[in-house]
């Protein structure tokens, strides 16, 4: 196996151009190392961990710029993430063990493009953008367009994720990330649901409701029908029930060793209701009547 430690993004990109499908990019390594041991070794490993300045977390243009090499624990420890992007912070906090959070990077979690990736539904709800770079140039694209399928992104075999831009959510928003797994953070999510909303001026209705679903479709997804159903309305028990069912209908979960598809649908329903109810309560001070 060939091995490279490029010192710059352009050096890494030319290696990817040169080695194409044979090349595997490694950052933290918590997933790639397992593949190397138990699946086929790649033809060449491109270790980007030592490219400088790709792990910064800083305020930028009305939001937060996150370098893809920032570890999950660095997100968790970041004041700006905790204070301004609590949804992403909650996902980081429920991400495996401390040992893994010290090693795994947010860029790796994203580029792995597992539908259950812990940070992905929150990034969709936050309307974050990916900075994708190829040897002939860079572009930004919303994460809604970035994920193409399980393990598939718009990077293909020649692109690198070089930045993540997360706009600050609207003032006064409330957001929750709810993960359903047998063994808490250590386990891969059977279902992950991210809900974010604001309230209108007199706190009589929810506005700008966003619902993101993880592990229940080929990619992490938003639930636009559910969002439209609830936005602009007061949340009562009947609407909550309708929203849960609508969210489940927007998912298309598979059956695997962790859960049946039918069960995942019930959990989407339950967690959507729970997330919306928590937002309603936090934003209006009232229980769902």
């Amino acid at each position: 196996m060939d091995y490279f430690e490029p010192k710059t993004v352009s050096e890494a990109l030319s290696l990817l151009d040169q080695h194409g499908e044979q090349a595997e990019v490694i950052a933290g390594g918590t997933d790639v190392m397992v593949d190397i041991k138990y699946k086929d070794e790649p033809g060449c490993l491109v270790n980007i961990k030592r490219i400088p300045d790709l792990n910064a977390i800083r305020e930028s243009n009305g939001g937060v710029h996150i370098g893809p090499l920032a570890t999950i624990h660095e997100l968790e420890e970041s004041d700006i993430v905790r204070e301004r992007l609590p949804l992403l912070w909650q996902a980081a906090h429920q991400f495996a063990s401390l040992q893994i959070r010290n090693t795994a990077t947010i860029g790796g979690n994203i580029c792995r493009a597992s539908p259950s990736g812990e940070t992905l539904a929150p990034l969709l709800v936050l309307e974050a953008e990916a900075e994708v770079t190829f040897s002939d140039g860079a572009r930004t694209e919303p994460f809604g367009a970035f994920f193409k399928g399980p393990g598939q992104t718009s990077l293909g075999s020649r692109g690198l994720l070089t930045g993540i831009s997360v706009p600050f959510p609207a003032a006064g928003n409330h957001a929750v990330y709810l993960k359903h797994a047998v063994r808490g953070p250590m386990d891969i999510a059977m279902v992950g649901v991210a809900v974010m909303a604001t309230a209108n001026a007199d706190k009589s209705a929810l506005d700008d409701v966003r619902v993101g679903l993880g592990a229940v479709a080929p990619t992490p997804i938003r639930a636009p029908k559910t969002e439209a159903l609830v936005s602009g309305k007061a949340l009562d028990a009947a609407l909550l029930k309708e929203a849960g069912a609508c969210s489940a209908s927007e998912s298309s979960p598979i059956t695997d060793q962790r859960s049946s598809g039918e069960y995942r649908g019930w959990i989407v329903d339950a967690l959507t209701r729970r997330g919306l109810a928590q937002c309603w309560q936090a934003l209006t001070g009232k229980e769902v009547a």
Partner: protein, 155 residues
């Protein structure tokens, strides 16, 4: 293809060769001889191979050996001060927190890292610190008692 890296383990500098696909746990055990680092699940789930890398606990089975170039590592072998055990090690003995013992080095390292960053950890902080360490003898109660005892002795 073989690489040569230099790193520090328990204060001692080593320079040695490794294959680029080698996991850090295998390099530490098989090349450098630090057998206290236990290989168990080999997928980053059980914590038996936990070491402290540049101040942070990590699972050495899912860290690329090459990433340790220039790093400062602490394994369970480097935690005692000569013959004097670290308070966490002594507390494991005093509370009977060891059963089969295979998970013990990983727990000791995770808890040493915890007590390095927090003098009097809350139950929640202890739980978080060892959430990535699995004991299949299920002796967690004694392990919690050991952390309390060690924290008291260190303060």
């Amino acid at each position: 293809m073989s690489l040569e890296i230099t790193l520090t383990v328990n204060g001692k500098t080593h320079t040695a060769a490794l294959e680029p696909s080698t996991a850090l746990v295998d390099f530490l055990r098989d090349t450098l001889g630090y057998k206290g680092v236990k290989l168990c699940c080999n997928t980053g789930e059980c914590g038996a191979c936990t070491i402290i890398m540049d101040g942070k606990p990590v699972n050495s089975c899912v860290v690329l050996g090459a990433d340790a170039a220039g790093a400062d590592l602490v394994t369970v072998e480097g935690i005692a001060d000569g013959d004097a055990l670290h308070p966490v090690q002594q507390a494991f003995i005093d509370t009977g927190a060891v059963q089969c013992g295979y998970c013990t080095p990983g727990f000791i390292v995770s808890l040493k890292a915890l007590l390095d960053r927090t003098k009097n950890p809350t139950a929640e902080e202890v739980e978080e610190a060892i959430s990535g360490n699995i004991c299949r003898c299920t002796g967690y109660t004694k392990i919690y008692e050991a952390v309390d005892l060690a924290a008291k002795q260190m303060s």
